[in-house]
Amino acid sequence: MVDLEQYLPILIFLFVAAALSALFVFLPMGVSRLTGAHKPDAEKLSEYECGFPAFEDPRSQFDVKFYLVAISFLLFDLEASFLFPWAVSLEYTGWTGWSAMVIFLGILAVGLAYEWKMGALDWQ
């Protein structure tokens, strides 16, 4: 059974960190209103595009490569998360565990080779 009490300081740390960050964001907003630095106008609040009004919607279509990278990342990061428990228990699983994981890695290496050959990893 995992002792969850060890994780309580982390949870408190998260709350303290979030509170500190929120303070850093909202306090200057208040201070600038007090000091008179807060003077927004339409030009100041327009989005930045080299000094002229934006030509088109910034959220236009972007390259499908980014989706490919994200999908490859999912695959290989999942693979890495399989490796973590295997790495700490290799002592107990021995050669059986080792050869099983090598076969698994071999299958994924074939996947990587296929991806490579199909040009999914190339950027022009």
Binding site: Y7, P9, I10, F13, F24, K39, A70, W98
Partner: protein
């Protein structure tokens, strides 16, 4: 520390709570202070290598430059662009900085000085550092502006690409140490090299892993030569373009906190952490935290050194390095290292 508060006549629960809060502040506040100083060091090293003087006006040797910058930024107006998604826009720097701080909860500063000595510390750091992509993507999307959007796409793809090889490299270290607990990983390095050197990094199989880890750290924290997300000539200031005031500064603080985390991970995982470099009794009289901070500072110096000397990569070269060089090599090394450890009877 709990005992100290108990000795003041508090019950155990209150003493524990106060000790935890004190511990958190003892990590977070010095961390922010050291981030300010480290920005100064970064600029000084960069200047020295370029034969310039660097910041030298505010305070002795310009030591107070970062605080002056901080104060100036603090008093500025916070601009929220009218086209932006306001909620996400404000939330993005908060997420970035919270995540950058939260990873420090499990870092052991010496054998006993650790806030949460959990048995999966390394996994926790890996999980938290993956979350830092969210701050970047949120800021890029919420700005509703062209350059931040492109920059955020680039940054997200870059960070997740190098995270894969970092994961495999960490598996190699875990194979040697047999644990995820950062303190135990450091202890496992005691006398590792020929019985005298306290470091994993000198092992012929782990040294190439450390080199790859160091380069991946540069890419993961978007440092030169992989700072394509902030390529001024193409993307203005990257995903922070629309930010101002302290929200802008939080991205910088978060970035440097992440860089320091990567430096301290280099020290902890490969170069003996809070152990002295050589397993020799008199060196153990120096407190562990001094060794750890010296090593961390050395790695930060290397980060600055790289920034001052190396030109920027091209984006296709960056992705090629991540997916076609580091990923296959680290994958191969996992097999080689685990096979080597099995064959040499490391697991007894």
């Amino acid at each position: 520390m709990t005992e100290f508060f108990q000795s003041l006549g508090l019950t155990y629960e209150w003493a524990w709570g106060l000790a935890t809060i004190a511990g958190i502040l003892l990590i977070a506040l010095p961390l922010m202070l050291s981030v300010a100083m480290v920005i100064y060091v970064d600029r000084k090293v960069w200047a020295a290598i370029n034969l310039r003087r660097g910041p030298n006006v505010v305070g002795p040797f310009g030591l107070l430059q970062s605080f002056a910058d901080g104060l100036k930024v603090f008093l500025q107006e916070t601009i929220i662009p009218s086209a932006a998604n306001k909620g996400i826009f404000i939330l993005a720097p908060i997420v970035t900085f919270t995540v950058a701080l939260a990873a420090w909860a499990v870092v052991p500063f010496s054998a006993t000085a650790v806030l949460a000595d959990i048995n999966i510390g390394l996994l926790y750091i890996l999980a938290i550092s993956s979350l830092s992509v969210y701050g970047v993507v949120m800021s890029g999307w919420a700005s509703n502006s062209k350059y931040p959007f492109f920059s955020a796409m680039r940054a997200a793809a870059q960070m997740i690409s190098y995270e894969v090889s970092i994961g495999f490299i960490l598996v190699c270290v875990v194979l040697f140490a047999g644990t995820f607990n950062l303190n135990d990983i450091v202890r496992a390095q005691e006398g590792f090299g020929l019985g005298v050197i306290n470091a994993y990094g000198i092992h012929p199989l782990l040294f190439p892993m450390w080199v790859m880890f160091f380069i991946s750290c540069l890419a993961e924290t978007q440092r030169v030569p992989f700072d394509l997300t902030e390529a001024e000539s193409e993307l203005v200031a990257g995903y922070q373009t629309e930010y101002s005031s302290m929200s802008f500064a939080l991205f910088w603080l978060g970035e440097y906190a992440n860089i320091l985390l990567m430096c301290i991970l280099n020290a902890l995982l490969f170069w003996g952490g809070w152990l002295p470099p050589i397993d020799w009794a008199p060196l153990y009289y120096v407190p562990g935290i001094v060794w750890l901070l010296l090593k961390t500072f050395f790695f930060f110096f290397m980060f600055s050194w790289v920034m001052a000397t190396v030109p920027r990569y091209r984006y296709d070269q960056l992705m090629r390095l991540g997916w076609k060089v580091f990923l296959p090599i680290s994958l191969g090394f996992v097999v080689v290292i685990s096979g080597y450890l099995m064959a040499t009877g490391h697991f007894g």
